[in-house]
């Protein structure tokens, strides 16, 4: 369960912070250019953070008490393979569909 005060602190600060990121150049910094090396790093932020966030959720899912679960591993792989073909919806359907199928097959 998520604690209420933590939730509101995170939501408000994340909202404010995200706005400042969006507003940064358009609103405050004007035409100043970002140095090339900064741009090169920014390009990889999302692809660097998200897989690390996913990994433990897939390997040690909280729902099984941290036990590695074959059904979830296969479902994750299915979602990834479909996602490579650029279909977000397809990836979600494949992932959850495979999970249900595997849970049914593996009992």
């Amino acid at each position: 369960m998520i604690e209420k005060d933590i939730f509101w602190i995170v939501t408000c600060l994340l909202g404010a912070g995200t706005f400042l990121i969006r507003f940064s150049f358009l609103g405050l910094l004007g035409g100043r250019a970002l140095p090339g090396w900064v741009l090169s790093h920014l390009r990889y932020v999302a692809v660097a953070v998200l897989p690390a966030l996913i990994t433990p959720l897939v390997l040690w899912p909280p729902a099984t008490g941290g036990e590695t679960d074959a059904a979830r591993l296969i479902a994750a792989l299915a979602a990834f393979l479909v996602g490579l073909r650029n279909s977000i919806v397809g990836a979600v359907v494949a992932g959850m569909g495979t999970l249900y199928l595997m849970q049914y097959l593996l009992g």
Binding site: I2, F23, L29, A48, V49, A52, P56, V82, V92
Partner: protein, 237 residues
């Protein structure tokens, strides 16, 4: 609004509308998953209205469920949104001369799809006048952002009705995978993702979810360094 700006608004709306295919299911899922995590409907809506950035909302949700410290939740979720600093910079040459109050609104409504569509159009048609560029931008976001709120709400309402044996806990990683997989479009991206996964495993012993920050930083550096390496090699060849 003049005739030309109305036309630009409608065109932006039209150009961005194919992306509703992504926004609708994504927002629905966020609503469902956030309800499943124990948030009230008004809390789910507060997140979608105050933040309007799906990946960081999922990030914050996942980390809050793990009881990560507040600063880690913020650091990780803001890191996911740092790409928008790039968007902000890329929009300056086109929209930087718009009135301040409009730029505030543009910043609030800046999302991946509308950014990508509007910058592509601005670059193809550099002669488009400022007022049309502004209308075009708002046309783009109008196609996407109201749906984000509406479908989050719908998802939150549906979420109440879905029984727990549907393993919705796993919808969070599946959504992330769906987001990340299409990012594997170049060698530096693939290497960055790979380092990210290895880092998450290697540093999983760290307290306070610090593994996420360490793995993310290493992976970001790995992506950038691979890019630099490929550039140097291309120059030599």
């Amino acid at each position: 609004m003049t005739v030309s700006t109305k036309k630009a608004f409608r065109r932006g709306f039209r150009d961005c509308s194919p992306f509703v295919a992504i926004v609708i299911p994504y927002a629905l899922l966020f609503g469902v998953v956030a309800r499943d995590a124990g948030l009230a409907v008004y809390e789910v809506m507060s997140m979608s209205v105050l933040i309007i950035a799906g990946a960081s909302q999922f990030t914050a949700l996942a980390l809050m469920q793990e009881h990560a410290p507040v600063f880690i939740v913020l650091l990780a979720a803001l890191a996911v949104n740092m790409r928008m600093a790039m968007y902000s910079a890329a929009l300056v040459p086109h929209l930087g001369k718009a009135p301040m109050r409009l730029r505030v609104l543009m910043a609030y409504l800046m999302v991946d799809q509308s950014f990508a569509v509007s910058v592509k159009t601005y670059e193809e048609e550099p002669r488009m006048p400022l007022d049309e560029k502004i209308s075009y931008y708002f046309g783009c976001v109008t196609a996407v952002c109201p749906l984000w709120y509406l479908c989050t709400f719908t998802g939150a309402m549906i979420g109440q009705a879905i029984p727990t044996h549907f393993s919705l806990d796993f919808a969070i990683p599946v959504c992330f995978i769906a987001l990340v997989a299409p990012m594997m479009r170049s060698l530096p991206h693939v290497i960055s993702a790979f380092v990210s996964v290895l880092g998450a495993i290697a540093f999983s012993w760290m307290p306070y979810n610090l593994w996420l920050i360490v793995a993310g930083s290493l992976a970001m550096a790995a992506g950038a360094q691979t890019e630099f390496f490929l550039e140097r090699r291309a120059k030599r060849a």
